[in-house]
Symmetry: C2
Subunit: 160 residues, 2 copies
DNA sequence: GTACTTTTACTCGGATACCGTCTGTCCGAGTAATTATGG
DNA sequence: CCATAATTACTCGGACAGACGGTATCCGAGTAAAAGTAC
């Protein structure tokens, strides 16, 4: 049981996009290059983020991706859910309930506990936003490195 | 990302074993039959539980499995960890930290949050024990069904 | 009846096959900006 | 110079190959009780 690496990559992609000026977009290929991921696969992740209403995509020449909402409103959980899907971590088979002769469908000996555990896992991911991680970056990233990245992005980005 | 079905099956196997009288054991095949699982695979799960010090195994004729400790001391988390392993749900690649020029190894923008989320998930599983689930069974299971199961177990079990 | 051997019924643990999921690649289609072309 | 066509550079989404992990099966080895055998 391990989280898809796509979740981490997606979070980082969203973080990269926070450095974009208003109305700018970044091509998917540039983003995947920066994260060291394979472009053709990364496009699929980006499209999932578009489907989840986290990104806006602009087709055509000078097209690319941009955040749909402001970083303060994008929770880490939203990205997690967009990539991992909405299915819960635990699915009861109901075998044991059958064995015990428990008729009531609402009673599942384990899933109540599992559901509660998953909710407290998720609530932690709902607390943090892309913006709060971005603030961590500003605290820990060397300023010259940040300006270098910023200029690289402005060079590669496309206004429209 | 989904929990192994082996975790659920293992929890139920442990629950079955709580119905065993002192010094009795149940063969692995009987347990797997009751849970509707394939015997050859289920043996592997049981052995994992033995390795994790949750079960005691008795080899030879009249051999089988029995709980090592009392149900009050066995947490759901112990079973989860025995089957799923100790690896955490999230493993940082460090790619983004490299991109940001963050040298300090201790700083990982995402893993702090992920670690915290996983801990609150685990703490829920640590709270509940096999015994507390067993009490739920007594509340929700028809009494006649319980006595039927109890007598089946005492018929199939082996004293030594 | 006792000592020894064989059979039986389990666990143990490694080798291996199957299958679903995640990762990764490829390609045709759609879209829009840019460039080329024809009058 | 303007309108139209072709090219270019992206996204879109489906099809598909490969890798990996979880599930499942099998088998030989170890172990201990029971049954059989010899004296």
């Amino acid at each position: 049981m391990q989280m898809k690496t796509g979740v981490e990559q997606s979070v980082y992609a969203m973080l990269l996009l926070t450095f974009l000026p208003e109305k700018g977009v970044l091509p998917g290929e540039f983003i995947s290059q920066q994260l060291g991921a394979s472009p053709s696969y990364f496009q699929k992740l980006l499209r999932k983020l578009v489907s989840a209403d986290l990104l806006i995509s602009v087709p055509g020449a000078k097209g690319g991706f941009r955040l749909k909402a402001s970083p303060e409103t994008i929770r880490v959980f939203d990205i997690y859910e967009a990539i991992e899907g909405k299915q819960s971590l635990y699915a009861s088979s109901g075998v044991f309930e059958d064995l015990m002769g428990i008729q009531n469908q609402n009673i599942c000996l384990l899933s109540d506990l599992m559901t509660e555990a998953e909710q407290s896992w998720q609530s932690t991911l709902k607390r943090e936003t892309i913006d709060s991680i971005r603030r961590e970056i500003y605290l820990n990233c060397p300023p010259d490195h940040l300006t270098k990245l910023q200029s690289l992005i402005e060079e590669k980005m496309i206004r429209n």
